[in-house]
C-alpha cells in the first residue's frame, strides 16, 4: 500500500511537465548547463534505474533537501508530524464520543422533534466545508468575542512563560482548530450511528432482550449500541483519509505547524522533495490508522477475531 502510494507519486512527478533541472537553474541557463545539471540529478538515466535509486535513498532515510528552504526534508517533516497526529487523533476521539452520543440519543427518540432538530444540525455540520466553518469560528471567537487566538500553536511569548501558563497558552491555541475538525466529524459520525442503531433496533434479538424484561436503557446500551459500534469503528478507519484531508485545510488556515501546512506551502512553492515526503508520511499515517481500526473492530466484535471462512 505504502509502496504503491510512493510509486504513484514518483510516476506523477516524472509525468508532470517541467524539468527539475531547469527549475533549479532558472530560465537563463543554457542547454549545456541544463545537461550537466540533469546528469548530476540522474535524470539522464533510464526511468527504472532512477526509480530504484530514488526508492533506495528514500527507504534509507535520505529524503533530500527542500528546494525552497534548503533544509533537509526529513527534519522538516519530523518537526511537523507530531502536531498533525495530535490534532487528528484528539479530534477523532472527541468527534467519535460526541457523535456516538448524539446518534444514540436520536435513535432512541427516532421521529421526535428532538430527533428532527438534531438531524437538521448534523446534516448541516456534515455539509459544512471545514475551511469555511473555521472562518466562521475565527470571526466569532477571535474577532467578535476576542476569546481565542486565531492562528499558530503557541503565542510569541510562549518561551518566556511558566510551564502552567505555557500549557494554558497551548490549549487556547489548540481550541479553534480542534473544535473545527471535531464539529466537522461529529455530523458524519452522528448520522452514521443513528442509522446503524436504528438498523440494529429492528432485529429480533433486541425484542427478545425486551421480552426478558431488561430495562430499555440497558437494552440500548448493552444490545443495540454494542452491535451498532462494529460498523462505526470500521467507518472510523475509513474516515481517516477524509479527516486528514480536513486537517490539511485546518492547518493551512490556523497556521498549525503540521504536515498539512508543510504540504500546502510546498505545493504552492513547487517544492517537489517536500511534497513527495509529505505525501508518503500522510499515507503512512492513514495506513496506520486503518490497521488500528481493524484491531479495534476485532476488540468490539468477537466474530471478527475468527479467521475468515467466507
Amino acid at each position: 500500500m505504502l509502496l504503491g502510494v510512493v510509486t504513484l507519486t514518483f510516476l506523477l512527478l516524472r509525468m508532470a511537465p517541467g524539468n527539475p533541472a531547469l527549475l533549479l537553474l532558472g530560465p537563463n541557463a543554457g542547454p549545456e548547463l541544463v545537461a550537466v545539471q540533469e546528469r548530476e540529478l540522474g535524470l539522464d538515466r533510464p526511468l527504472p534505474v532512477q526509480y530504484g535509486a530514488w526508492l533506495t535513498a528514500f527507504a534509507t532515510g535520505d529524503w533530500g533537501r527542500s528546494i525552497a528552504t534548503g533544509r533537509p526534508v526529513r527534519q522538516m517533516i519530523g518537526e511537523a508530524w507530531p502536531a498533525t497526529l495530535w490534532l487528528v487523533g484528539t479530534s477523532l476521539l472527541l468527534s467519535f464520543l460526541l457523535g456516538t452520543t448524539i446518534g444514540a440519543m436520536q435513535s432512541s427518540r427516532s421521529g421526535s422533534p428532538v430527533d428532527t432538530v438534531l438531524s437538521v444540525g448534523t446534516v448541516t455540520l456534515f455539509a459544512m466545508p471545514s475551511y469555511w466553518l473555521a472562518l466562521l469560528l475565527v470571526l466569532v471567537f477571535s474577532y467578535g468575542l476576542q476569546w481565542l487566538p486565531a492562528f499558530g500553536a503557541a503565542g510569541l511569548d510562549a518561551d518566556f512563560l511558566s510551564p502552567g501558563a505555557r500549557l494554558l497558552d497551548a490549549m487556547r491555541h489548540a481550541t479553534l482548530p480542534l473544535a473545527t475538525l471535531t464539529l466537522i466529524g461529529v455530523g458524519g459520525i452522528a448520522r452514521y450511528v443513528r442509522a446503524a442503531m436504528l438498523d440494529v433496533r429492528g432485529l429480533p434479538f433486541v425484542n427478545v432482550a425486551r421480552a426478558k424484561g431488561i430495562a430499555e436503557a440497558r437494552v440500548t446500551r448493552r444490545h443495540v449500541l454494542r452491535n451498532a459500534l462494529v460498523p462505526v469503528v470500521i467507518l472510523l478507519g475509513l474516515s481517516l483519509p477524509a479527516l486528514f484531508s480536513g486537517a490539511v485545510f485546518i492547518e493551512a488556515i490556523f497556521a498549525w505547524p503540521g504536515v498539512g501546512r508543510v504540504l500546502v506551502e510546498a505545493v504552492q512553492a513547487r517544492d517537489y522533495p517536500v511534497v513527495m515526503a509529505a505525501v508518503a508520511v500522510s499515507a503512512a499515517l492513514v495506513v496506520a490508522g486503518n490497521m488500528l481500526a481493524d484491531i479495534l473492530a476485532a476488540l468490539v466484535d468477537p466474530v471478527r477475531r475468527e479467521p475468515e471462512s467466507a
Binding site: 448541516t124 466545508p129 480536513g246 504552492q268
Partner: protein
C-alpha cells in the same frame, strides 16, 4: 415508498433545481457583470442591500474591488456547479464500469479491480489533489479530471456489491445458458440493475465534489482568480472577514445549501430504493 412522497427528495431536488436555474439565468437576474468595477474606492465594501452612487442596488453588497457579490455568486455557481457535475459524471461512469466489470468477472481481473479500488480508497484525497495541482497548471479542467479520478471508488464498491447480487439471480444464469457472452450479460443485465445505487452515490458525490472544488480554489490551486467560483470568493473574503463578512458568508451559505440538498436527496432516494432500510 415512492421517492416523490419523501420530503427530503423534494427539498433536495427543488433546492438544486432552483440553484441550477439561477446559475443558468445568471445574466438575466443580475444587473451587472461579475467582474464589473467602477470607482473602486466609492463602491467597495458596500453592505448588503446598499445602493451605490449610480443607483445600482447590490443585494449582497460588494467586495473589496467593488464587484457585486450577488452577481459573482450566481456566475460562480455556473463554474462551481458545472465543475461538480462534470466531475461526478466522470467518477460515476468510472465507478459503474469498474464495479460492474469486477462484479461480473472472477479471478485475476476481479482481484485487480478490487485491489485498485481499496488502494485508491485509502489515499487521502486532498493530498492527492494538492499533489496533482502542484504538478500541473491549476485550471477548472484539471479540477474536473482530478475530482473525477479520485471520486469513483465509493460508487465502484456499491455497484460491485449490487452486481454480485445480480449475477447470482436466475435470469443471469438463463442468459448464460442461452449462450450470452459475458460482455453482453454485463451490458444488458447487470448495468441496468445497478444504476439506482449508482445514482444515490452520485447525488452524495455531487455535494462532495463541489465542496472539494471550493476547497482547492480556496487554497489557490483550483480555479484561478479573477474567475468567480465559490471557493475563490470565500478565499477573497477571508482577509476582510471583520470589515465585510458578507463576501465570505454568501458563497459559504450557498455551498452548505448545495451539500445539504444533495445529501438529503441521496438519503431520500436510498430509502425509496431500499424500503427495508426506511425509517
Amino acid at each position: 415508498m415512492i421517492a416523490g412522497r419523501d420530503a427530503r427528495v423534494w427539498f433536495g431536488a427543488l433546492t438544486l433545481g432552483l440553484l441550477v436555474a439561477l446559475a443558468l439565468a445568471a445574466p438575466l437576474v443580475t444587473t451587472i457583470g461579475p467582474s464589473e468595477q467602477e470607482q473602486v474606492v466609492a463602491t467597495r465594501f458596500l453592505r448588503p442591500f446598499a445602493t451605490d452612487m449610480n443607483g445600482v442596488l447590490h443585494p449582497l453588497g460588494t467586495d473589496r474591488l467593488g464587484r457585486d457579490v450577488w452577481s459573482r455568486l450566481l456566475h460562480g455557481a455556473r463554474l462551481s456547479l458545472g465543475v461538480g457535475a462534470l466531475a461526478v459524471f466522470l467518477s460515476t461512469v468510472l465507478g459503474v464500469v469498474i464495479g460492474a466489470v469486477a462484479g461480473a468477472s472472477r479471478g485475476l481481473l476481479r482481484g485487480t479491480l478490487l485491489g485498485l479500488t481499496d488502494f485508491a480508497l485509502a489515499l487521502p484525497r486532498v493530498v492527492l489533489l494538492l499533489l496533482l495541482a502542484a504538478l500541473w497548471r491549476p485550471s477548472a479542467a484539471l479540477v474536473v479530471v482530478v475530482l473525477g479520478l479520485t471520486g469513483w471508488m465509493s460508487v465502484a464498491r456499491l455497484v460491485y456489491g449490487e452486481a454480485r447480487g445480480v449475477m447470482a439471480k436466475p435470469f443471469v444464469e438463463s442468459a448464460r445458458a442461452l449462450g450470452g457472452r459475458r460482455l453482453r450479460i454485463v451490458g444488458r443485465h447487470v448495468l441496468p440493475n445497478v444504476l439506482t445505487p449508482a445514482l444515490v452515490a452520485a447525488a452524495l458525490g455531487f455535494g462532495n465534489a463541489i465542496m472539494l472544488e471550493a476547497g482547492l480554489s480556496f487554497l489557490g490551486v483550483g480555479v484561478q482568480p479573477p474567475a468567480a467560483s465559490w471557493g475563490t470568493m470565500i478565499a477573497s473574503g477571508r482577509d476582510t472577514l471583520v470589515n465585510a463578512p458578507w463576501v465570505s458568508l454568501a458563497p459559504g451559505i450557498a455551498l452548505v445549501l448545495v451539500v445539504v440538498a444533495s445529501t438529503l436527496l441521496s438519503d431520500g432516494l436510498q430509502d425509496a430504493y431500499d424500503p427495508a432500510r426506511r425509517r
